[in-house]
C-alpha cells in the first residue's frame, strides 16, 4: 500500500511543484522545504491533495514538517491515517 501512496504523492509533487521536471532526482527523504520545492502556499495545496485523494481530514496539529516534509514522511502519515485501505 505504501508504494502506491508514495507513487501517487510523488506524482503530485512532481507535477504540481516541479512542473514535470525530473532532471534532479527527488529522494524519498529529501526535505521539500530545504530543496525549495514547496512554500507556505504549497503546504496547503499538499494538504488539499491528501484530503481529496484519500478522503481523510488533516487536523491543524498534523500539519507539521514531521508529517509532511518528505515523500517518506507524507507516505507514512497518509498510511497511518488510512487503515481501511490496507
Amino acid at each position: 500500500m505504501t508504494d502506491t501512496i508514495r507513487d501517487a504523492v510523488k506524482g503530485f509533487v512532481v507535477e504540481n511543484f516541479l512542473f514535470g521536471d525530473t532532471s534532479q532526482a527527488l529522494a524519498d527523504t529529501d526535505s521539500l522545504i530545504e530543496n525549495g520545492i514547496i512554500d507556505s502556499t504549497g503546504i496547503l495545496e499538499l494538504v488539499a491533495f491528501i484530503e481529496d485523494r484519500y478522503g481523510i481530514a488533516v487536523a491543524d496539529a498534523d500539519i507539521v514538517p514531521a508529517n509532511l516534509d518528505s515523500l517518506a514522511r507524507i507516505t507514512a502519515f497518509v498510511a497511518s491515517k488510512t487503515p481501511a485501505t490496507a
Binding site: L18, F19, D21, G36, D39, S40, T41, I63, V64
Partner: protein, 644 residues
C-alpha cells in the same frame, strides 16, 4: 530631468548617430533636444525643462568652450553652491543647476562631486585634458549605461540608445538572468544585456588616453556594532531628523514648474506630502493608484490623508486587465526582466501625472531602506530570536505577526513557520543571513531554467557573488545595519529606483524626487542606533516620533503595508491578453531556449486553474513572461523568428 547620450573616440557620422541615440530616449526629454560634437567627442541631450526654463539648454559649455556637460537630474543645493561660487568671483550666464557643475568642476576637478546634493548622472568633456568624466548620484536614482565598440566608448541614460550604435547587439546575459531570478536585480555593473554595463551608484568613471577607470566617491557606512552611539537622546535625534527631512524636502521643492506628490496612503509619502503642502503656496496636487482587489488597495488611507492635507487629489484605477495591458511597455522601459508586476501600476501613475500637466513629483521612496521599514528587517530579528532557542514552539508564532497579509502563512504551525524562514537552520554569522529566505525562495524559480541555460551557468551562485561585493567593515555592523545595507546598496538602485522608479516615471517624462534619499539624511539615519529605527517589531520608530504631529493618527500609527500588485492573476482568466498565450506557448519558450517549455506550460496551466498561487509560482510566472517579452522587444526573438 532629462536623458543624455554620447561617445568618445574616432567616429564617422557622429552627429547622425547622436541624433539617433537621442531620439531613442526622447521620452525622457520631450521639451528639446541638442547635440555637441568636437573631434572624437559627441554629446546628445533630451531635455525635460524644470530649472532654468529659458536658458538651460544642453549640452552646455563653459565660457572658455573647453568644458562641456550633458546632465540628467537635479542638483538640489545649486542655489547655495551658486552663491558660494559667485562670492568667489564666478560669473554665471544661466540660472540653471547645470552651469553650477561646470564651475565647480573647473575649481575642484573630480572632487566637485563631494559638494553636490542631488539626483544626477552626467558626462563632462574636459577638452584641456582630453578626458571624459562620467558620474552618478550616491543612491543610484539616475541611470547611466556604457559600452565599448570598435575602440570607441559609448554611454547613455538608457540602454535603448546604445542599441542604436552599429555593431552593438542585444543579447541576454545568462548570469544577469540568474541574478534576477535570485536577487531580483542584476548586480551592477552587470545589466541584462551581455555587452552593456551600468555605472554603479556613487561612482565616477574617467575615460582618457584609451583607458577607462572607475572609483567610488562616496559609500554608505554604518557604525561598528560595539561602538558607542553619538545619539543617546531619542528626542534630540527625532528633532534632528525632522530638521534634516524638512530641509531635504524644501530643496526638492525647487523648480520653475509646479511640484506634485505621490500619496500611497502609507506613512512615508504621507510625511513627504505633509511637508510639501506647506511649501507649495499655490496648493499641492497629489496622485495615487487604486486597486480593485482589497488586499492591494489603500484608497481609504489615500483619501483620508488627502482630506487632512487639503490637496487636490487624483487617482488612477488599476483594474483587472490593466497590468497585462501595459506590461509589454513596462518591460520596454525597465529594459530588464522582472519577477514582480509592481512597476506596472507606477507606469499608469506617472501617466496620470503627465495628463495633469505636471513634470515633477515627490515620493516617499527610500524611507523603508533608511529607517528600517521593510518586513525583512523584522523577519531578520525574529529569525535570530528563534535561532537562539531552536525547536521553540512559541517563538515562531511571531512570524504570523509579520505577514498578516499572507493567508498561507497564517494557517501554518510553529514548526512549519520555523522551517519556512530557516529559523533553525541558517548560520547566523552568514553575511546574507537576513536575506537568505528571500534569495532561496526566489532561486527556486530557476527550476524552470532550460538544460541549456543551466549548462551555461554551471555552478554560478548569485548570492555568493553578492556576498563577495560586501565591504570589509560589513562584518562589524549590527545585523539590522547589515540587512539595511543589502537593501539600500543593491535592491534600491537595482530594482526600486530603476524598474519601479526612474524608468516608470520617465516613460511619461516625469521626474521623481526622493526626500528620504537626501545623502545627509541617509548618513544621519545610518548613524542612529538600531533600536531607534526598529523598536521591538515596530518599524521606522524614530520617523514616527519625529513626524507624529503632522499626520492623522490612523496614518501615523499604521503598520507598513508593502506595496504589491496582482502578479500571475493579472495575466490569466477571462480576457487574458493574447500576447501572454503567444509568449508562453511551448513553441515560443522553446524558440528562446532559456526555459523548459513543458514546465512553463504546466505553470501557466496551474496559474490559470488557481490564480492564488504562492510566491515562487508568481515570481516564476512574471519572471518568465517578462524575459520572453524582453527577448522579443530587444532581440526580436520569438517563435516566429525561430520558424523563419
Amino acid at each position: 530631468m532629462c536623458g543624455f547620450v554620447g561617445y568618445f573616440g574616432t567616429a564617422r557620422d557622429g552627429r547622425t548617430l547622436l541624433e539617433r541615440m537621442t531620439a531613442a530616449i526622447a521620452h525622457r526629454g520631450p521639451d528639446e533636444q541638442g547635440v555637441f560634437t568636437a573631434p572624437e567627442v559627441g554629446l546628445g541631450h533630451a531635455r525635460l525643462s524644470i530649472v532654468g526654463l529659458g536658458d538651460g539648454q544642453q549640452p552646455m559649455s563653459d565660457a572658455t568652450g573647453e568644458l562641456t556637460i550633458a546632465f540628467n537630474g537635479e542638483i538640489f543645493n545649486y542655489v547655495e553652491l551658486r552663491e558660494q561660487l559667485r562670492a568667489r568671483g564666478r560669473r554665471f550666464r544661466t540660472g540653471s543647476d547645470t552651469e553650477v557643475i561646470l564651475h565647480l568642476y573647473d575649481e575642484m576637478g573630480d572632487d566637485c562631486l563631494s559638494v553636490l546634493n542631488g539626483d544626477f548622472a552626467f558626462a563632462l568633456w574636459d577638452a584641456r585634458r582630453r578626458r571624459m568624466l562620467l558620474a552618478r548620484d550616491r543612491m543610484g536614482v539616475r541611470p547611466l549605461f556604457y559600452t565599448q565598440r570598435d575602440g570607441r566608448f559609448y554611454f547613455a541614460s538608457e540602454v535603448k540608445a546604445l542599441l542604436q550604435v552599429p555593431g552593438v547587439t542585444a543579447e541576454i546575459d545568462p548570469v544577469a538572468l540568474d541574478q534576477i531570478f535570485t536577487l531580483w536585480a542584476p548586480i551592477a555593473p552587470r545589466t541584462a544585456f551581455r555587452d552593456i554595463s551600468e555605472l554603479e551608484p556613487a561612482s565616477l568613471m574617467i575615460v582618457q588616453d584609451g583607458s577607462v577607470s572607475t572609483r567610488p566617491y562616496w559609500s554608505l557606512d554604518y557604525p561598528d556594532r560595539d561602538a558607542p552611539s553619538r545619539h543617546t537622546d531619542e528626542r534630540e535625534a527625532a528633532e534632528e531628523l525632522r530638521a534634516l527631512l524638512t530641509e531635504a524636502t524644501r530643496i526638492r521643492m525647487r523648480a520653475d514648474v509646479p511640484v506634485g506628490a505621490y500619496l500611497s496612503g502609507g506613512l512615508d509619502s504621507s510625511i513627504t506630502s505633509a511637508l510639501a503642502v506647506g511649501m507649495a503656496p499655490a496648493g499641492l496636487k497629489t496622485f495615487s493608484v487604486t486597486f480593485d482587489s482589497a488586499e492591494h488597495d489603500e484608497s481609504a488611507f489615500q483619501l483620508e490623508m488627502a482630506r487632512a492635507l487639503g490637496t487636490e487629489h487624483r487617482a488612477v484605477a488599476c483594474r483587472e486587465g490593466d497590468i497585462a495591458a501595459v506590461f509589454p511597455d513596462v518591460i520596454r522601459f525597465t529594459e530588464r526582466p522582472i519577477i514582480r508586476t509592481a512597476p506596472a501600476p507606477l507606469f499608469k501613475l506617472s501617466g496620470l501625472v503627465r495628463e495633469a500637466g505636471l513634470k515633477v513629483v515627490l515620493t516617499g521612496e527610500g524611507a523603508d531602506e533608511v529607517f528600517a521599514g521593510y518586513d525583512i528587517f523584522k523577519e531578520n530579528r525574529v529569525r535570530r530570536f528563534c535561532a537562539r532557542q531552536p525547536g521553540s514552539r512559541i517563538r515562531p508564532h511571531l512570524f504570523r505577526k509579520l505577514y498578516p497579509y499572507l493567508p498561507g502563512l497564517q494557517q501554518q504551525s510553529a514548526e512549519y513557520l520555523a522551517s519556512f524562514f530557516g529559523a533553525n537552520g541558517h548560520a547566523t554569522d552568514d553575511p546574507l543571513y537576513s536575506h537568505r529566505p528571500r534569495f532561496d525562495g526566489t532561486a527556486a524559480t530557476k527550476l524552470f531554467f532550460s538544460g541549456d541555460l543551466r549548462g551555461k551557468l554551471a555552478n554560478y551562485d548569485a548570492a555568493e557573488e553578492l556576498a563577495s561585493r560586501l565591504p570589509a567593515a560589513f562584518a562589524r555592523w549590527h545585523p539590522l545595519h547589515q540587512a539595511q545595507y543589502l537593501e539600500a546598496r543593491f535592491l534600491l538602485p537595482g530594482y526600486i529606483l530603476s524598474s519601479q522608479g526612474d524608468r516608470m516615471a520617465m516613460a511619461h517624462g516625469i521626474e521623481g524626487r526622493f526626500p528620504f534619499l537626501d545623502h545627509q539624511l541617509v548618513e544621519f539615519a545610518a548613524s542612529l542606533p538600531p533600536e531607534m529605527k526598529l523598536k521591538g517589531l515596530v518599524e521606522k520608530h524614530i520617523l514616527r516620533e519625529a513626524t507624529g504631529d503632522m499626520l492623522p493618527p490612523v496614518i501615523g500609527k499604521r503598520t507598513k503595508q508593502p506595496y504589491r500588485a496582482p502578479d500571475s492573476a493579472s495575466f490569466v482568466g477571462a480576457g487574458a491578453a493574447d500576447y501572454v498565450e503567444a509568449a508562453l506557448s511551448e513553441a515560443a519558450v522553446g524558440a528562446t531556449g532559456l526555459f523548459n517549455p513543458k514546465a512553463v506550460a504546466k505553470l501557466h496551466e496551474k496559474c490559470r486553474a488557481r490564480p492564488a498561487t504562492g510566491f515562487r509560482d508568481n515570481a516564476a510566472f512574471v519572471g518568465i513572461l517578462s524575459t520572453q517579452l524582453w527577448l522579443k522587444t530587444f532581440t526580436g526573438i520569438d517563435s516566429r523568428s525561430q520558424a523563419a
